[in-house]
């Protein structure tokens, strides 16, 4: 790069900011674009509205269900289970994962158990969960927890192990004690990878809560979708699907914002 162009280019900081704004606008525009295409296809009869009703008719039902309060009850039920599952699965996974990263012995003990249980499709545990925890809340929360647990634990271990050894040398040379080694080096060093684990885990948790609520539940978005199938209320099914998609979308946005806030050093 010549000297002239360097002087003319906008400051790095500004360029990064404007790119961020652009990324955010694009991430909102793309799903709206998809809905528009769908609406046009439904109205022009390009697609069968018995199976693929127009977004506008789904929206009308959605508003109706919002007004009656029915939708809020189901959404709140799913969100509550999701939140408890993330907490109950994520917290012990975080601690176990970091301890595994720091302690070779514990890693050797727990690693084979994790390796053996991780590949089991989590949805296949649902009958067992129902057997053990019954038809109530705890079986649903357990399903989310198990989905969140593995990615968080595995990523926390990886995150700690992948910290560049030079940072640990710096800590030792500058006389960091054990406590400081953990808080100023191990945790912040592993945080970006841990955060990815949470994103993955919450995504899996959302899949599992929908499945879990389809069996033996009296509330939740999964229940709403399942009962729509039983009564052939296709639009209601789409309302349920839309709400789950919306939750997924909002969670992604929230998690990305959260990541920017707690990991400000991560280059975007």
């Amino acid at each position: 790069m010549s000297v002239g162009t360097t002087a003319a280019a906008p400051p790095r900081q500004e360029r990064v900011m404007s790119l961020r704004v652009r990324d955010r606008i694009l991430s909102i525009a793309s799903p709206i674009g998809l809905l528009l295409v769908w609406e046009i296809a439904a109205r022009t009869g390009l697609i069968d509205t018995r199976f693929f009703p127009a977004p506008s008719s789904v929206l009308a039902l959605l508003i109706e269900m919002l007004k009656s309060g029915e939708l809020l009850v189901h959404t709140a039920a799913s969100l509550r289970r999701l939140a408890w599952g993330i907490l109950i699965g994520g917290a012990p996974a975080l601690v176990l994962g970091i301890v595994m990263g720091l302690n070779r012995t514990i890693r050797a003990l727990v690693d084979p158990i994790m390796a053996a249980t991780y590949p089991i499709p989590k949805s296949s545990i649902l009958p067992l969960a129902l057997l053990v925890f019954g038809l109530g809340e705890s079986s649903k929360i357990f399903m989310v927890a198990i989905g969140v647990f593995f990615p968080v634990a595995i990523n926390a271990t990886t995150g700690v192990l992948e910290i560049n050894k030079i940072y640990l040398d710096v800590g030792r040379n500058y006389k960091a004690d054990r406590w400081s080694m953990f808080w100023t080096i191990a945790l912040p060093g592993a945080l970006p990878v841990i955060m990815t684990g949470f994103k993955l885990g919450i995504g899996i948790g959302l899949i599992l809560i929908a499945i879990a609520e389809m069996i033996g539940a009296k509330s939740g978005l999964g229940f709403l979708i399942w009962s729509a199938w039983e009564t052939f209320a296709v639009e209601q099914m789409y309302v349920g699907l839309f709400m789950i998609a919306l939750i997924g979308f909002v969670l992604t946005v929230v998690l990305n914002e959260l990541e920017r806030y707690i990991i400000p050093w991560k280059a975007s």
């Binding site: 790095r12 030079i166 040398d169 710096v170 100023t184 080096i185 990991i263």
Partner: protein, 280 residues
């Protein structure tokens, strides 16, 4: 004195005249069957800018890491002279390559050593401000490392070491990853900061130029196992101007002398490497 560990020697036990800042005797470090450092003995005077050159794999980094307390010697002793009752750390190291924490701002990185020593926040701020100013980083105090160039990141590492105010500064090829222009600038800046309080420095390099430009004395090490081959005193006056120096006849002579000594070792190091390759 215990073997292997770095000993901090109280001042009053030795007479002032004969007291080196660092005293190394018969230092040996082996990794399995491989001897990295072989019976190295040397004294480094207080305030001396001491350079170590040697072919790659000669154990110079190992020697420095033992001084830094990051490795323990197999046998031999190292003593670092610390005045009785001193609160300062005995050493701080500037590492080769990126070593500042990506999750801390420039200011937090520079103050890391002081924070670990539980120095009051106000003092940390004053000291860090001073060294950020000296390294030209004041404007970037709240930046994160990923927003800085490689040269600036290494300046932060230098500020971090100086701000910690150690008795000796250890530098492990701190400029080897930088381009030629940045290297020159940082060498000049380092000499400027060092002129302020003339700390004892042990500086490792593979560049003969750098050794002559910066050092008071140069130690040439042999190829593996790393032994002391030769000391070359650098009589160039201070403060030094790097640009002027490079044109001076004494400079050329010194570079030539060290390079002649080093050349055989680089050759031998290459043969050792070729043999290892051949055995595979």
């Amino acid at each position: 004195m215990s073997i292997g560990a770095v000993n901090l020697r109280p001042a009053e036990t030795v007479s002032a005249a004969a007291r080196p800042a660092i005293r190394i005797r018969d230092l040996v470090k082996s990794f399995g069957g491989l001897t990295a450092v072989d019976r190295v003995s040397l004294d480094i005077a207080p305030g001396e800018f001491f350079m170590i050159v040697g072919p790659s794999g000669c154990g110079k980094t190992t020697l420095l890491r033992i001084l830094a307390g990051l490795e323990t010697a197999t046998s031999g002793t190292i003593e670092i002279d610390v005045p009785a009752g001193s609160q300062k750390p005995d050493n701080s190291m500037v590492f080769q390559g990126d070593s500042i924490f990506p999750w801390m701002t420039v200011r937090q990185n520079a103050g890391y050593g002081l924070r670990m020593r539980k120095v009051p926040g106000k003092t940390i701020r004053e000291v860090v401000d001073h060294y950020l100013d000296r390294t030209g980083l004041t404007r970037f105090a709240d930046y994160y490392p990923h927003q800085l160039s490689g040269g600036m990141r290494q300046r932060v590492a230098i500020a971090r070491a100086f701000a910690n105010d150690p008795h000796i500064l250890l530098m492990d090829e701190p400029f080897s990853a930088l381009d030629a222009q940045n290297k020159l600038l940082l060498q000049e800046e380092l000499l400027h900061i060092w002129d302020e309080n003339k700390k004892t420095v042990v500086f490792i390099t593979h560049s003969v130029d750098e050794a002559v430009l910066l050092g008071d004395r140069v130690m040439v090490m042999t190829a593996q196992p790393g032994r002391l081959k030769q000391f070359v005193p650098i009589g160039l006056k201070r403060p030094r101007n790097i640009m002027e120096l490079q044109g001076a006849p004494e400079y050329g002579e010194l570079v030539h002398r060290i390079w002649t000594s080093l050349r055989d070792e680089v050759q031998r190091a290459r043969e050792i490497e070729d043999n290892i390759e051949a055995k595979r």
